[in-house]
């Protein structure tokens, strides 16, 4: 995990935090040329995956109930937006869990079982997650056609009940990109499993 020690004065006390620092909105794609092994067997970089209208990166894994809950929407969203010129990739950065369900073989099995229609790459030493300031799974980042970060956060506002979703954050961000508009809700939060950095 990317560690940031921040000291904030609060009522004359020192507050220390150990939290990830998410990539700032407007940033360019970090480590765009870093090659990662996709479950299809090819070495791919984010540059290779980015589409004409942008890129969706989801930090994910095989071992998190929040991923289990949202995963059906990975496939739906990829199927809806891949044809519209977005690149779509799930990234597994759980370096410390390679022997606990997040190995490359496990990733291949997962992609097959869940019918992934998008790339699922191995971030072997969590380099990409650190560069993004990703902290949890799932943790979504969207880059527009100019390859600038326009959305980060959750897929929507209801992991457990797709039928009760009230805010489709990711879909709304992608629609805004396609319409050439600013993303209305550009940063959201959701509960998720910590990324298992090998540190």
């Amino acid at each position: 995990m990317k560690l940031t020690m921040r000291v904030l004065p609060v009522v004359l006390l020192l507050v220390s935090t150990t939290l990830g620092k998410e990539l700032s909105l407007g940033s360019s794609i970090p480590l765009p040329d870093l090659k990662m092994l996709d479950v299809g067997g090819k070495e791919l970089s984010l540059n290779d995956i980015t589409g004409s209208n942008g890129l969706v990166v989801i930090f994910s894994c095989n071992t998190c109930p929040w991923v289990d809950a949202w995963e059906d929407r990975y496939v739906e969203l990829a199927n809806a937006y891949l044809p519209k010129g977005f690149g779509f990739v799930a990234v597994n950065s759980n370096a410390a869990y390679r022997s606990k369900g997040d190995s490359y073989d496990d990733m291949q099995s997962r992609a097959k079982k869940m019918g992934y229609t998008f790339y699922y790459t191995l971030d072997k030493q969590s380099e990409l997650a650190r560069a993004f300031g990703a902290t949890r799974t799932p943790h979504v980042f969207v880059f527009d056609a100019d390859r600038k970060l326009v959305y980060r956060g959750a897929i929507d506002d209801n992991a457990k009940r797709p039928d009760k979703v009230e805010a489709r954050y990711l879909a709304d961000a992608l629609d805004a990109c396609l319409a050439g508009k600013d993303v209305k809700t550009a940063s959201t939060k959701a509960l998720g499993c910590t990324i298992k950095f090998d540190d």
Partner: protein, 175 residues
């Protein structure tokens, strides 16, 4: 005379010992049953604020399905007992789905947690920001509030070593 009374004295002593044992065990503090309350971030902040000026408070956000949470859980319970008399209050806040309340309650009982605990009853985004703007949403998440000021002194995501908990607790007790 003495010999004829000896069995009686022995029996009386035995009865007294048994009664004393029963009496002592029933006089000791009996475990307080787990009370699992649905809560928003505002409910939790309100609960914490009631200890301002009296006790330091550690709040741990966890889930039954979260392996790192479950791994560090017994240590947190033990630290709660160890620092209780020095003025530390610990609250556990489950972020399991609400329909898993029974599973959460059972886990808390198995871990020897007593009294009030919470389970999240609010959408993620307002809940996370309502607890701490710097929390990104990853669990486990721990936040420690100072005894005198009630201010948040330290917060971290992910499983932590005992030393980190102890340092945060001792700093919170001193401030």
């Amino acid at each position: 005379m003495l010999e004829s009374f000896s069995p009686l004295i022995f029996r009386s002593g035995l009865v007294a010992a048994v009664l004393l044992t029963i009496g002592l065990s029933s006089c000791g503090p009996s475990p307080e049953p787990v009370s699992l309350k649905r809560a928003t971030a505002a409910d939790i902040i309100q609960q914490v604020s009631e200890y301002k000026g009296r006790e330091a408070v550690l709040v741990n956000f966890w889930a039954t399905w979260c392996a790192p949470c479950v791994q560090e859980f017994p240590m947190i319970v033990e630290l709660g007992r160890r620092y209780r008399d020095e003025g530390l209050k610990i609250y556990f806040v489950s972020v399991d789905w609400l329909e898993q309340s029974d599973r959460v309650r059972t886990f808390l009982e198995q871990q020897g947690v007593e009294g009030l605990s919470f389970i999240k009853d609010e959408k993620d985004n307002p809940f996370i920001d309502g607890i701490a703007r710097d929390w990104t949403g990853a669990v486990p998440f721990t936040i420690v509030y100072a005894k005198r000021s009630g201010a948040a002194m330290e917060l971290w995501e992910g499983k932590a070593h005992r030393e980190r908990f102890e340092n945060a607790i001792e700093m919170a007790l001193e401030n």
